[in-house]
């Protein structure tokens, strides 16, 4: 059961960042490393752990090897939902705390 492993794998912030990157679509090791302050070998190592945990899978595409979120795993689904709700709650907070319209603010000042 890889589900428990997935929680452990995502506890590491860098590994979590690599996973978040793959939520944006499939990418090669080089592409992932480009956007991060981490070396390629380090990214490879993180990918290996994510793969062992059933969160990502890899595939040869032509001369490239690309990694992507493995949606067959419940761990990956759960991690995806976790990020999904995090983003939605942030959007909700922004709307809830948006300053009132100009008219309302003017009224309050009196």
């Amino acid at each position: 059961m890889t589900y428990d492993l997935s929680l452990v794998a995502l506890a590491d912030p860098t590994r979590r960042a690599v996973f978040e990157r793959l939520r944006g679509g499939p990418a090669s090791v080089g592409e992932i490393a480009e956007g991060m302050p981490v070396s390629r070998p380090a990214v490879s190592q993180h990918l290996k752990v994510l793969k062992d945990a059933g969160l990502v899978r890899d595939e040869a595409r032509g001369t490239r090897r690309v990694y992507e979120v493995d949606l067959a795993g419940l761990g990956a689904l759960r991690a995806w939902l976790d990020g999904f709700w995090e983003d939605q709650l942030a959007a909700f907070k922004a709307e809830a705390e948006r300053p009132p319209a100009r008219g309302a603010r003017a009224k309050r000042r009196k």
Binding site: L81, D82, W85, L89
Partner: protein
């Protein structure tokens, strides 16, 4: 459904956030005004989202209306307790399709933290029910969800 292939339990997703508004306001924005904040990239319809609707009652529909006028169900309201709690049935499966046979639950509680702050606690549970659909999805990833993830990632990067 074959119960034997589904894990019995998956830890629910739990997320919380503190907003600097009172309980009633927080509840209203979350429910009646969901259309104002719901990230538009999270759509399962064929047409881009024109409106997100959560009907304000038990049994009320929760759905998106596309720009072409089509409606796409997400689920329905299971518990309606303004301004403290709402529970939604999330009936979108792992292939990002509405599945009337499958129900996962999203409970949202609004707890006052003084007069001007509210802690919003969200729990998405019964995720294991997504497992069956996911298992059938094992081979051919790429289509719907892959595309959605791609769009989602771009949006997140801009944010």
């Amino acid at each position: 459904m074959d119960a034997s292939v589904m894990p019995a339990y998956v830890e629910p997703v739990r997320r919380s956030i503190v907003v600097k508004v009172g309980q009633a306001r927080a509840f209203e924005v979350f429910t009646a005004r969901m259309d104002r904040w719901w990230l538009r990239t999270h759509s399962i319809g064929k047409s881009p989202i024109a409106e997100v609707v959560m009907e304000q009652r038990v049994g009320g529909r929760w759905y998106e209306r596309g720009e072409d006028g089509s409606e796409c169900e997400w689920g329905h309201v299971l518990v309606w307790e303004p301004p403290r709690r709402v529970v939604l049935a999330w009936q979108i499966d792992a292939q990002f399709k509405y599945n009337p046979e499958m129900v996962t639950e999203v409970e949202v509680r609004f707890e006052p933290r003084g007069a001007k702050e509210t802690e919003v606690l969200l729990e998405h549970r019964l995720i294991e029910r997504l497992g069956d659909a996911a298992a059938g999805f094992a081979k051919g990833v790429g289509g719907g969800w892959g595309g959605l993830l791609e769009v989602f990632g771009k949006e997140a990067a801009q944010g």
